[in-house]
């Protein structure tokens, strides 16, 4: 049997709660295993000490009753407080900050007018890949008439 198994049995329950079978396994094992014998002795003495300790009557400190009563009153106060009030106490800061943020966003969206854009601006603002590559600014673009004249001149030359 593995050494660990005996120790696990010792730690799993109080010695007095060991079944007859478990006790037999332990007794047989500790005859040959010194380390487990030592662990068994230690567990036995620990068990006695705990029993002794539990039998000793401890006088509670003078503050014990005060503390229990304070905890009692605190608990009762929590129980008597309405649910909404408790919720507000715990999440009030978060809700307030969310409301302020929402109001600020609404103000930015509806109250402050957006700049009016014209179609002419949009045309000038448009950049083609070619113009970017050639380093041309939108101002360099040809007007409609220039384009027409260029096309027809080219067409005439072709003839």
């Amino acid at each position: 049997m593995k050494v660990n198994h005996i120790i696990e049995i010792l730690d799993s329950t109080s010695l007095k709660n060991l079944s007859a079978e478990q006790l037999k396994i332990v007794q047989i094992h500790i005859r040959d295993c010194m380390s487990c014998e030592s662990a068994y002795q230690a567990a036995k003495i620990s068990s006695r000490l705990i029993k002794q300790r539990a039998q000793t009557t401890v006088e509670p400190s003078p503050f014990f009753q005060t503390r229990v009563m304070a905890a009692w009153r605190e608990r009762q106060a929590i129980e008597n407080t309405p649910v909404l009030s408790r919720l507000w106490k715990s999440a009030g800061a978060l809700v307030s900050s969310m409301a302020v943020t929402t109001a600020a966003l609404a103000a930015l969206s509806f109250v402050i007018p957006a700049p009016i854009s014209t179609s002419a601006d949009e045309t000038t603002a448009a950049y083609s890949a070619e113009s970017v590559l050639l380093g041309q600014t939108p101002d360099d673009q040809m007007s409609y008439d220039q384009v027409l004249s260029t096309i027809y001149v080219d067409g005439d030359e072709g003839k």
């Binding site: 567990a43 002794q52 300790r53």
Partner: protein, 137 residues
């Protein structure tokens, strides 16, 4: 109502235990002569019965010192289950912990206590063989 009050009292006890200054593990090694003798008696006697009030007091004092090694929660679980024969369910109800947590705490406490006791016993044996006990700082 009873359960509620039990839980409040248990939690108050736990808080008091937590706030009490715990001794470091090395302090457990500083045994008095009476305690060393008591431990020696335990290892030699088969069926132990406390012989006198003094014996009981020494044992209680030693128990206090050894239990100080454990965290407050582990002490509580071990004393209730092994000392007062409370069931896991009863401890769970009194503390508000889950049953598996109670089991784990009791297991851990038993293990730690056994290991601390083993160290003490080994130290006692060595001192019996090699002369007076040298206290660790």
């Amino acid at each position: 109502m009873e359960g509620w009050l039990t839980r409040i009292a248990t939690n108050t006890c736990l808080n008091m235990l937590r706030s009490a200054k715990r001794r470091p593990e090395s302090a457990v090694a500083d045994l008095t002569e009476d305690e060393t003798a008591w431990l020696g008696q335990q290892t030699s006697s088969v069926g132990y019965q406390p012989r006198s009030v003094e014996d009981t007091l020494i044992a209680a004092d030693l128990a206090d010192r050894v239990l100080d090694v454990l965290p407050a929660e582990d002490q509580l679980a071990l004393l209730m289950i092994d000392g007062e024969d409370a069931s896991v369910k009863e401890v769970a109800e009194a503390t508000g912990w889950s049953e598996s947590k109670v089991k784990v705490r009791a297991f851990r406490a038993r293990k730690k206590l056994r290991e601390a006791m083993e160290k003490l016993l080994n130290k006692g044996r060595k001192s019996q063989v090699g002369g007076p006990v040298t206290h660790e700082s």
